[in-house]
């Protein structure tokens, strides 16, 4: 089943460039900035933002990948353990300004988990948040510093971000949720 398109490839490209400008503007430069993408689609987004900053500012920012699986608050509730995709952080996040990058901001629980994970690696000067899509319905006191697009949604809807690096095309879709059958465990 396919959903309704809410962002085209061009819109994603422009939003990414604007995010890169906002991040640099807020920091008043690029000193001390580290971009960390949240697995999975936050990682290519962080790389794109870094490429855009390199193009406009001539500065190559360190980019990392963070997997928050082990920090999820629902591990005891999901039917199966999520696949762990790996964490690779640039060395030394102490005193740096970390910009967390993710594709969709929803309940805020991913970001809570990401912050818990980050502080196990060190003590950043500040942690900021940049997302491509903010779909509302926060369950925690978390907000994004930089948003590509605000999208009003209902809880029965799914926002799917597709990126070339992962999915072979760039687009954002919205669709109604469908339940899939749950496999039975065996001994």
């Amino acid at each position: 089943m396919s959903g309704r398109q809410i962002m085209t490839a061009d819109e994603i490209r422009r939003a990414t460039i604007r995010l890169s400008h906002e991040i640099v503007e807020k920091q008043a430069g690029t000193d001390g900035l580290v971009l960390i993408g949240i697995q999975r689609r936050g990682v290519p987004l962080a790389r794109r933002i870094a490429a855009s900053i390199a193009e406009h500012e001539g500065a190559a920012l360190p980019v990392g990948a963070l997997d928050i699986t082990f920090y999820r608050d629902d591990l005891s509730m999901v039917a199966q353990q999520p696949v762990v995709k790996g964490t690779e952080l640039p060395t030394g996040i102490d005193g740096k300004t970390i910009v967390l990058v993710d594709d969709v901001l929803y309940t805020g629980r991913t970001i809570r988990a990401a912050m818990d994970a980050l502080v196990d690696f060190g003590r950043p000067q500040a942690i900021r948040l940049a997302v491509l899509v903010d779909r509302g319905h926060r369950e925690l006191p978390i907000r994004a510093d930089h948003v590509g697009k605000n999208v009003p949604t209902s809880r029965e809807e799914l926002v799917r971000v597709h990126l070339v690096e992962v999915d072979g095309l760039d687009e954002v879709e919205i669709e109604r949720m469908v339940a899939a059958p749950q496999p039975e465990p065996v001994a």
Binding site: T69, Y71, M77, V78, Q80, M177, A180, Q182, V186
Partner: protein
């Protein structure tokens, strides 16, 4: 597709993006042996172990994945590395760990295995790691325990986490990360070896050219199995150590289990060392970069010479380190399996 939705996901508001579905569904509630694991499931364990290795390399090697889970470790047999490694693995995942050594428990007052398992469950255990001298004991425990049972070694039968950490260690060291077509030799006391019996399943599943080698009295019963194969996957059996070691990629020496060595199976330890011990001279028959492995504990100078065990080809300490990561992976995967209600 970026996300998959299970029936619970709608009911449980959770992390923003619902976890992506496993490419391979993990369907096992227990880990009793490796014989029922598909190659896809073995790959999933290996990939999850990679992630655990990354956790172990962190400045704080601890993640909250199993926070609030009660893991009980119940060992009826002596052990250092397996018991400690399970304990460290569970603690690295933030589980609550209770250790029971049978020798200091009510077992010495005559409590049966079934009663002990019921008692630890009543005390809150959700995952039970057990070692027992009787083959099949964890299967009995799994019948009555409502959580997950992990076999930490049962009699001569199985030692699944050892086979998994051996597989991980070999794959890590092989160019291309594959054992397909590689000559792997398991040398020594096969008769009493649960390590060998579990390794036969995983190594043949990984496509290794598997050779078992030992004196005739200690390879009894394996001939029929070698001909029939493990799930049809054949392997070799020989009493000639030269034939086994020639051009081998991996040589795993097994401990001579003196405590199980009754009835004149071996004339003497010295004779065994002379005829089957893994010495530098014998190792020279294998490929120059062949890996040397041993599940421990070692009888140095009997099944393996000290200079070989500590030599440049030895990955014996890697086996121990990888043991923690593999056990973290298995605990993590089992903790996600729903118990049917």
């Amino acid at each position: 597709m970026s996300t998959a939705i299970g029936p619970d996901a709608a009911a449980v508001p959770s992390v923003d993006d619902v976890p992506e579905s496993q490419p391979i569904a993990w369907r096992h509630r227990h880990l009793l042996d490796v014989d029922r694991l598909s190659t896809d499931e073995l790959d999933l364990i290996m990939r999850t172990t990679d992630a655990m290795r990354e956790v172990l390399a962190r400045p704080i090697a601890k993640v909250p994945a199993l926070r609030g889970r009660a893991v009980t470790i119940l060992f009826y047999e002596a052990s250092t590395r397996t018991r400690v490694s399970f304990e460290v693995a569970a603690k690295n995942l933030s589980a609550d760990v209770v250790n029971i050594a049978a020798s200091t428990s009510s077992v010495v007052k005559g409590e049966s295995l079934i009663d002990t398992v019921r008692t630890v469950e009543a005390l809150g255990a959700q995952m039970l790691v057990m070692r027992h001298s009787s083959s099949g004991a964890p299967y009995l425990a799994a019948d009555i325990f409502s959580g997950s049972v992990l076999n930490g070694g049962d009699g001569w039968h199985a030692h699944p986490t050892q086979a998994l950490l051996d597989l991980y260690t070999m794959r890590e060291r092989m160019p291309g990360g594959s054992l397909a077509g590689r000559k792997v030799v398991i040398l020594g006391d096969l008769l009493h070896s649960r390590v060998a019996r579990s390794n036969i399943w995983t190594l043949t599943a990984a496509g290794a050219d598997l050779w078992l080698c030992g004196p005739a009295t200690l390879v009894r019963g394996f001939e029929a199995w070698a001909n029939r194969g493990a799930a049809g996957r054949r392997f070799h059996l020989t009493t000639s150590v030269d034939e086994a070691l020639r051009d081998a990629d991996v040589v795993m020496a097994l401990r001579i289990q003196r405590e199980r060595m009754a009835g004149g199976l071996l004339p003497s330890m010295r004779e065994y060392a002379a005829r089957y011990g893994l010495t530098r001279e014998r190792l020279a028959l294998a490929r120059p970069d062949a890996l040397v492995m041993h599940p421990g504990p070692m009888n140095e100078g009997v099944e393996i010479a000290p200079d070989v065990a500590a030599g440049p080809q030895s990955v014996i300490t890697d086996q121990v380190t990888n043991g923690v990561a593999v056990r973290m992976a298995v605990l993590y995967l089992l903790a996600g399996t729903r118990v049917p209600s």
